[in-house]
C-alpha cells in the first residue's frame, strides 16, 4: 500500500511539474500502450549547436533532402527548444509510428503543411492533412503529430473472422482462436466507415478471386489503415492522463532531463502477440511460446540514454529481467576474469579487446531452468519439458565442462603486422609469350591472442594432443603446438596451455610473450579495473586501427574516408556490469577528438563531412 501511494505521488508530482514548466506536456499524449518511445530534448541539442550553425551545413541543401528541410529549420513553426517524441504502437492488425512535435507558431506551421495537401477538419474539429495514402499530419495550436500507419497484411488474409469480414479468401487456415487480440472498438468503426471511404469500389465483400484483385485488396487495406490512423489522431488529442504513458513510473523515471535522446522499450506480451501475425516460420513458434512467459512480463523495460558531452558521447543502457529469474542469472555471472590474462597483453600497440567472465558450470545448470517457460509453451514439448531437462542433466556433465572451460576469456588484437608475402606475375617477350616471375608484396594482418581459463589441465592437453595426432598441428620442443590448417598457408596458429590458461595466437612475437610470461608494458590501471569489475568489456581503439590500416591508393574516395577517419575518431568502450537486483547496466562511451566544442557539433559535422566526401 505504501509502495502504491509512493508511485501515485511520484506520477502526480511529475505531471504537475511538467504542466507548469512546459505548458503542454506531450509526454501525456503518448498512450501507455506504446511499446517503443524515443525522446529528443531539443533544448539540450540546441544549447550545444545553434540552428544557424546547423543551417550552414552543406547536407541541409543536399538533393535528397526534401524542399521543406532545405528551408531554414527554424521556419517550420515548431518549438525546437521543447521535447519531441517518436513512438510505436503495435496491435495484431496495424502498426502506428507517431512523431509528436510542439508548435510555437501555428500560422507558420500551417503555411508549410498546406503545401503537402488540403487542410481538412476531423469529426472533433482538429486540423489534418493526408500527406500520403498511409500517413497524415494532425495538429492543434500547441502541438501536432505525424502518424504513419502500416497495416499487417496477414491480419486480413490469415485470420478467419477478418478475412470473411473484408472478403478475402484465406490462403492457409490457421487456428488463431487463442491468440487473436482485436481492438474491437476501432475495428467496428473501420468496417462501418469502409463503404463510405471506398465509394463505388466497395461493393462485394464476398469477392473471392485471390489473384487478380491484389490492387483492390491493397486499396481496402490502405483505406482501413487510414480510417484507423484518423481515429488514432482523435484519440491522441483527447487522451485522458490515466491512459497516458506518464502513469508508467518506470517510464517517467527513465526520462533523464540531461540526456539529448532517450530510447525506451517496454516489453509486453502484446508486442509479441502482434509480431506473431507477421511471421509463420519455425522461429515464430518459439515467439508464440514466449507469450505469457515469465521472461517477458509487462514490468520489464529497456532504456538507452544518449548524452552528448564535451569530450565524449555516452550511452547508458539499463534493462531489467523478471525478478524470479534474477538469482539464476546472478549465478551465471558470478565469475571473475583471470587476472593473469593481463600478463600476456602488450599495451603498446593494443587495438582492442573483448573480455567476458561467466561461470560455465552455472550457465550449464541454470540455462535449462530459464528455458522451462519456453518449453512449456511449445505444443509438442509442454508435457515433456521436465523430462527434457532431466535428460539434458543426465547427458551433460556440467561440473566437468565447467572445469574444462571456466567461462572467462579475453580476445585481444595486439597489433597490426605488415609482412612480405610472395606472389607470381608474368613478364612478356616480343611475341607476348610470358614467363612466370616471383615478386613480393606487403600484406597487413592483425596479431591476436585469445585466452581462456581451465582447471582441467589433463583434459586440455588431451584435446591439444588429439589435434597433433590427427595431423592438424605439430608439437614443438618448447611445448606449444603449431597449426597451418592448409599447406602453403602464410598464416599459422599457435596453441598452448600454461598455468591454467589456454592460449591461441597467430604470431611468433605474441608466442614469445606467452612463453616468457611477461610483457614489457602491460595494461593501464584503468583497463585492469574495468576488466576486474565487469561481466563483459569491449575496447576498440578505432583511431589506432585506421592509422595502421593499409593505405588504399587505388581508390581515392576510400583513401579520403580513411584519412578523415584517422583524424576524426577515437576510442570506443563498452562495459556490461554485474546485475544489481534484477537490473543490468551497460555503458558505451565514444571519445571524440580534441578541438571539438562538444559532441553534438562533432556528430553533425561528421555526418556533413562524410556526405561531402561521398559526393
Amino acid at each position: 500500500m505504501k509502495q502504491a501511494l509512493k508511485k501515485i505521488m511520484m506520477v502526480l508530482c511529475c505531471y504537475l511539474f511538467l504542466q507548469t514548466s512546459y505548458g503542454i506536456d506531450l509526454q501525456s499524449k503518448i498512450p501507455k500502450t506504446a511499446q517503443y518511445v524515443f525522446t529528443i530534448h531539443g533544448q539540450n541539442i540546441l544549447n550545444k549547436m545553434s540552428l544557424e550553425e546547423m543551417g550552414k551545413l552543406s547536407i541541409m541543401n543536399a538533393p535528397f533532402m526534401g524542399d521543406s528541410i532545405k528551408m531554414r529549420i527554424g521556419e517550420f513553426g515548431l518549438n525546437l527548444n521543447a521535447t519531441f517524441y517518436f513512438y510505436v504502437e503495435m496491435t495484431d492488425s496495424i502498426l502506428y509510428f507517431t512523431y509528436l512535435f510542439p508548435i510555437s507558431d501555428v500560422k507558420q506551421f500551417e503555411s508549410v503543411i498546406a503545401r503537402k495537401g488540403e487542410i481538412k477538419k476531423d469529426a472533433k474539429g482538429n486540423n489534418y492533412v493526408e500527406t500520403s495514402s498511409t500517413n497524415l499530419t494532425t495538429w492543434t495550436k500547441d502541438y501536432g503529430a505525424f502518424i504513419i500507419e502500416m497495416v499487417v497484411s496477414e491480419y486480413f488474409t490469415k485470420v478467419p473472422d477478418t478475412y470473411k469480414r473484408y472478403g478475402y479468401k484465406v490462403e492457409e487456415v490457421i487456428d488463431y482462436s487463442n491468440n487473436v487480440m482485436e481492438d474491437a472498438a476501432v475495428d467496428t468503426l473501420a468496417t462501418e466507415s469502409l463503404e463510405d471511404s471506398l465509394g463505388n469500389d466497395a461493393v462485394d465483400y464476398n469477392y473471392t478471386n485471390t489473384y487478380d484483385d491484389w490492387s483492390i485488396k491493397q486499396k481496402y487495406r490502405d483505406t482501413i489503415g487510414m480510417i484507423w490512423a484518423k481515429q488514432k489522431a482523435i484519440q491522441l488529442f483527447s487522451l485522458p492522463f490515466s491512459e497516458s504513458i506518464s502513469t508508467n513510473v518506470k517510464f517517467v523515471e527513465s526520462q533523464d532531463k540531461t540526456a539529448e535522446g532517450i530510447f525506451w522499450f517496454g516489453s509486453s506480451n502484446s508486442v509479441l502477440s502482434s509480431l506473431m501475425y507477421s511471421m509463420n516460420t519455425p522461429s515464430s513458434l518459439m515467439l508464440k511460446s514466449m507469450v505469457g512467459s515469465a521472461l517477458f512480463s509487462d514490468k520489464n523495460y529497456f532504456v538507452a540514454s544518449i548524452h552528448c558531452n564535451e569530450k565524449d558521447i555516452k550511452v547508458d543502457v539499463t534493462s531489467t529481467m523478471d525478478p524470479r529469474l534474477t538469482k539464476n542469472y546472478e549465478k551465471m555471472v558470478n565469475a571473475k576474469l583471470n587476472k593473469n590474462f593481463s600478463k600476456y597483453i602488450p599495451s603498446e600497440n593494443l587495438l582492442g579487446y573483448y573480455s567476458f567472465a561467466y561461470n560455465t558450470q552455472a550457465v550449464m545448470e541454470e540455462t535449462p531452468k530459464l528455458m522451462m517457460p519456453y518449453l512449456d509453451m511449445i505444443p509438442y514439448a509442454k508435457n515433456i519439458s521436465s523430462d527434457i531437462i532431466d535428460l539434458y542433466a543426465l547427458m551433460i556433465d556440467e561440473e566437468a565442462i565447467g572445469k574444462l572451460f571456466k567461462g572467462d576469456g579475453i580476445f585481444a588484437v595486439t597489433n597490426l603486422v605488415t609482412t612480405e608475402v610472395p606472389y607470381s606475375t608474368y613478364e612478356y617477350d616480343s611475341l607476348y609469350n610470358y614467363t612466370e616471375i616471383k615478386k613480393m608484396k606487403n600484406e597487413t594482418f592483425p596479431e591476436f591472442v585469445f585466452m581462456y581459463s581451465t582447471e582441467d589441465v589433463i583434459m586440455t592437453e588431451k584435446i591439444l594432443g588429439m589435434f597433433y595426432k590427427t595431423g592438424l598441428c605439430v608439437k614443438k620442443e618448447e611445448g606449444y603446438y603449431e597449426s597451418s590448417l592448409y599447406s602453403g598457408s602464410p598464416f599459422k596458429l599457435y596453441l598452448l596451455q600454461k598455468e591454467g590458461i589456454v592460449f591461441i595466437c597467430n604470431t611468433q612475437q605474441q608466442l614469445e610473450i606467452i612463453l616468457k610470461g611477461k610483457v614489457e608494458k602491460g595494461l593501464s590501471k584503468e583497463h585492469l579495473k574495468r576488466l576486474k569489475v565487469n561481466t563483459a568489456n569491449v575496447f576498440v581503439d578505432i583511431k589506432k586501427i585506421l592509422e595502421r590500416f593499409p593505405n588504399m591508393t587505388e581508390e581515392n574516395r576510400k583513401m579520403d574516408m580513411l584519412t578523415y577517419g584517422r583524424k576524426n575518431v577515437e576510442i570506443l568502450n563498452f562495459t556490461q556490469s554485474k546485475p544489481k537486483g534484477n537490473t543490468i547496466k551497460s555503458e558505451m562511451v565514444l571519445n571524440i577528438p580534441k578541438g571539438n566544442d562538444n559532441s553534438v557539433k562533432y556528430l553533425f559535422n561528421m555526418i556533413n563531412d562524410l556526405y561531402l566526401l561521398s559526393k
Binding site: F356, G409, F411, V413, L416, V421, P422, Y423, S424, T425, Y426, Y428, S430, L431, Y432, N433, Y434, K441, E443, T444, F445, P446, F448, F450, L485, Y486, S487, G488, S489, P490, F491, L493, I504, N506, F549, P550, E554, E555
Partner: protein, 226 residues
Amino acid sequence: MKLKNLYRTLFFLPLLFLTSCFDIIEEVNLHDDGSGIFNLTVNMSQSRAKLFSMLLLDSVQGHKVPKREEIKARLNELAAAARKTEGIKEVKIVQDFDNFVFSFHCLFSDLNSLNHLIEEIKKTHNADEFLNSETIHFEYNKRTATYTRNGNYSIGDAYYKVKNIDKSILSNANFVSIVRFNKEVAIISNLNAKVAPTKKAVMLRVNVAHIIKGTENFSNKITLSK
C-alpha cells in the same frame, strides 16, 4: 563465446585487412588453317593470403566459399566437358592451390569447337547472364584472314545490384587477351590493343569490372596480311 564463433572471428579478421586482386590471361595461338592452341590462366596469387583465410570459412560476404574438393570437382567437370567437345583434344588442367594459380589448356581443330565448349558451359552452369547471349565468341575467316574476338560480356544494369565490396574486388582484376599468328597483323579494330614488335601477336588488357559493367570490352577484329 561459442567455439564456432571464435573460429570465424579468428579467420574472418584478416580478411578485413588483406588485399585481393587477380588476373585472367586468355591465349590463342592460331594457325593458318584455323586450328590452334588455347590457354586460360587464372592467377590469384596476389590474393593468396586472403584466399587462405577465406577457405577456412563457410561463406564470405554472403557468398558460399567452395572447399578445395569442390573447386577440383568443378575444374574436372570443365575438363570432361572439353574432352567431349568435338574438335578439342589434349585437354590439361593445372591446379596450384599453394599459389592459387589455375589453368586450362587444349588444342582445337577449329575455333567453333571453343564456341561449342563455351556454350556447353553456359548451359550447364546457367551462366547466360555472365557470358552474354552471343554464341560466337571466336571466329576466323580463312578467306579474308580475319580473326574476330567477340568480347562483350557485360551484365548490363545487373551490375548496379552487385555489392560494393564485390565491385571493389572486380575493379582490382584484369583480363589479358593474347592472340598469336603465323602471319603479320595488318589491321586491328580495338585501339586499346597492342601489336607486338614482331607484328605477329596482339595483347589487350582490360579491367574486369569495366567488362562486366559494359564500359569496356575486349572485342577485336584482327586482319592479317596476306
